[in-house]
């Protein structure tokens, strides 16, 4: 079983080791309640350059490039729309950031660095954690189970991004994707309600896809501790046991030598 980190370069390794994810979490915790606007399936932040940098380095969300984006933040490949409005010089420093639901909930619930609000006719109203959970669950039915897996990985300082490009729920990295190759393509499986990986064909397809992009398939199983768990509350997180299973295809043509690690016994058998 591969234990080492796959850095993209020696310089990347040095950068990552100098700034571990835990240090970025510490910086985020020092924010004073930044407001995030819940818009159906995303949360939008309006933040300054320094905060945007931290979110980028910790790999939460992505910037939205718009007419008010400062010149330096627009990528060279993006076409710049002509400005129709006079832009206040002070706003030049404002960056618009878009967070996914899981990312936003983690920032508000675990790191407590943002508070989420919603726009109503009377103005903006700040939502409680339970209200945020319910709104997110309403806009995305699988939000609850995806969030538990997301939070499980993030709490261990793994960087977690959307896995849609690979047909998975998430991609898990040991640090920023610019510095390290992804280790895992993550699929969430809820005991008793598994919707994926039910046939060998699908297992083979996912494994093939993962193999072609040098990642391993990781199944995260949720085992309910009791019957009738209410997914409409964030407290349901404590009602599941989470177990991670690595799925690997063994190729006998390549494993004939005694020294091959793929047939070594697995040392771990623990539930987190």
């Amino acid at each position: 079983m591969k234990l080492g980190v796959r850095w993209k370069s020696r310089e990347a390794a040095a950068v990552a080791l100098e700034e571990p994810i835990s240090s970025l979490y510490k910086e985020l915790r020092e924010w004073k309640s930044v407001e995030g606007l819940l818009v159906h399936s995303s949360v939008i932040l309006s933040i300054d350059f320094a905060k945007a940098q931290i979110l980028n380095r910790a790999c939460f969300g992505k910037p939205i490039y718009c007419a008010t984006s400062p010149q330096d933040s627009v990528p060279t490949t993006a076409t710049r729309a002509p400005r129709l409005l006079e832009v206040n010089a002070e706003l030049e420093d404002v960056r618009m950031f878009q967070l996914g639901l899981e990312e936003a909930f983690f920032l508000t619930s675990e790191l407590e660095c943002i508070c989420i609000c919603r726009q109503i006719p009377e103005g903006r109203v700040v939502l409680s954690k339970e209200e945020v959970w319910r709104c997110m669950q309403a806009s995305k039915p699988e939000f609850g189970q995806l969030y538990i897996a997301y939070a499980h990985l993030r709490a261990k300082q793994w960087v977690v991004r959307s896995g849609i490009q690979y047909g998975a729920d998430f991609m898990a990295y040991r640090h920023h994707p610019a510095l390290v190759h992804s280790d895992y393509a993550v699929i969430v499986m809820v005991e008793g309600h598994e919707e994926r990986m039910k046939t060998w064909t699908e297992m083979q397809a996912m494994n093939r896809l993962c193999g072609s992009v040098a990642k391993t398939l990781l199944l995260i199983h949720f085992i309910p501790k009791r019957e009738g768990i209410d997914l409409s509350s964030p407290l349901c997180q404590g009602d599941f046991v989470v177990e991670a299973v690595e799925v690997r295809r063994w190729l006998p043509e390549k494993s004939r030598e005694e020294s091959d690690a793929s047939v070594k016994p697995v040392l771990n058998f623990a539930i987190s």
Partner: protein, 233 residues
Amino acid sequence: MRRADVDYGSDGSGASELSDDDSYDYGGVDDTRLRFRFMVEQGSLLLREGERVVDLLEAYSLVSTPSYGCSWNNYQVYSYLKKLGYIVGRHNVPWTVSKKRPPMPADEVESITSQFAAVKTSEGTQETNTACSQLVDSKSAPGFEVNTELQGSESSSEMKLMYDVHLPNARFKKSNPGLPAFSLCTTSSRPPHRLQVRALALSLEGRPLKFASVVSDHVSIYSFDTIELPNLP
């Protein structure tokens, strides 16, 4: 099940797997049937029933007969690994039965047989774990006669530990095979459930476990190992 009278093939091709050691008795060793069919396929064995030579087609149909844990899919897995040079034996069945050692008492054999046959990997019931732990406690020691009459009516949809696989090794000794590199479970048309993997892994006490899937003629082997994701800095 008719007993195969073995003829060591007149074409002289291939190396015989059967040892010259005369202390071996193959009458009761269960995976012999599998090996014989393979050797017929490789052209290094002629199987006779009385005066008649059993042809390859008939040998194939014999190996697919669902008795003693045989099935066409199981045979394909065996054949696939054997052709790549791996040493494959039936799980928990000794490679040899030495005539020098006294046979195991009949009631102990019967007890192990019924426990082995009773291991059905159902959806993670307590019974499964109990049966597995009983198997662990009463593990077969080398040197006794095993007539493990596996249930003849076992369907191929049950998931069970089928083979112990050793890496290719010219110095492999049946009298002292050592621990297998891994044990292999053959599966039905679906991947194993988490609880099935757990039950089988428990019975192996942490030794490597893999699963074979056979779709038509394509054999793939997977492992489903539970891991503890590390806390990163």
